[in-house]
Symmetry: C6
Subunit: 78 residues, 6 copies
């Protein structure tokens, strides 16, 4: 089974920090799956990383992905 | 029962990677159900896959669908 | 009790596919409740089904409604 | 305790249909609490009920409110 | 511990109505924390309370905050 | 393990107020990770903290992050 969309094909990671990094990575892999052209993606990244509204959209996506990953890891409570 | 909206009519899939692919597919099937005309869909896909804000909307949708699929599969914890 | 907002006044349906169809129907019934005029609704439908950003909004709504319906049905795990 | 924001100050209602109606009502009461002027509200309602994007925003809000109400009522499973 | 962001530093309140009021208050305190200048905030409030799309954004925020507060209080089921 | 994305690499904090502050901090750290240039970030902050719609987006992000942190801490019920 490829892991083009979820690195190491698992939501279980040791720490919240790694959970956060996974959330960002998973979001980027959806951008890649939706827009396979690397040059276009780089142009779009230039746009959204310098546009306040889009930067906030990015934060909203990571927050949603992270909610899932945190639940998967029982919020690293122990 | 047709499975026009959810392939194999199930949310249960073996791995997170397949869960992610299902989330993307389920989102696309809603686009199809809302806009049945394939040519219009293809035009719209050209638009949103090259528009930073809309590409981010796509990520938000997949994140929301994936949250449901991940919960359905108990986050593939075991 | 009327069922203008939720067909058959229940969230419990046999399969994910029917859950998905219910999510779409529930969303449409909110459009209807908010804008009772059928002609205006039809005009608006023409707009959002041919606008990439709005089509994506539609997907986001269905994903949110479906999350509730899937949870109601214990994700059709059994 | 007033019930300006939640009619009958309870999330528990007998059926999904009533849950759905409560979700719509709760959303409207936030509009009222944020914009107390009835005339302005009526003007704004004219705008959003005839704007495809805003109508979709309304659906997203109701979907989010309903998710809470449905969980409160254990999805009316029994 | 100050309670600049959450009045009385608790999510536990006796009734849904108070939960709803807390959700609105918590949202406003984030606006304040993000934009400390009261005059600017008042100008922005004039804008969003008379803009249909932004008024709907406000409802979406309160719905999301309230979902958390309602879960914290077990939906005031008893 | 660095803690560039989540201070002290934990979601567990003693009070709701600290949970709220963590939610804001986590959102800002995603802005930083997406746009490493401090000068650009400061310009963008000037923009979104004086734009009603973007200020509301910020509130939506914090509400989503806080939902996760509150669940992680069992809503500080005890």
């Amino acid at each position: 089974m490829s892991s083009d969309l979820i690195p190491s094909n698992s939501l279980i990671v040791p720490t919240p920090e790694e959970g956060r990094a996974l959330a960002m990575k998973m979001a980027r892999l959806i951008v890649k799956a939706t827009q396979p052209d690397a040059a276009i993606r780089e142009d779009l990244r230039e746009i959204y990383s310098q546009n306040a509204g889009m930067l906030l959209q990015t934060c909203q996506i990571v927050a949603t992905e992270f909610a899932t990953i945190a639940a998967a890891n029982n919020y690293w409570r122990n």
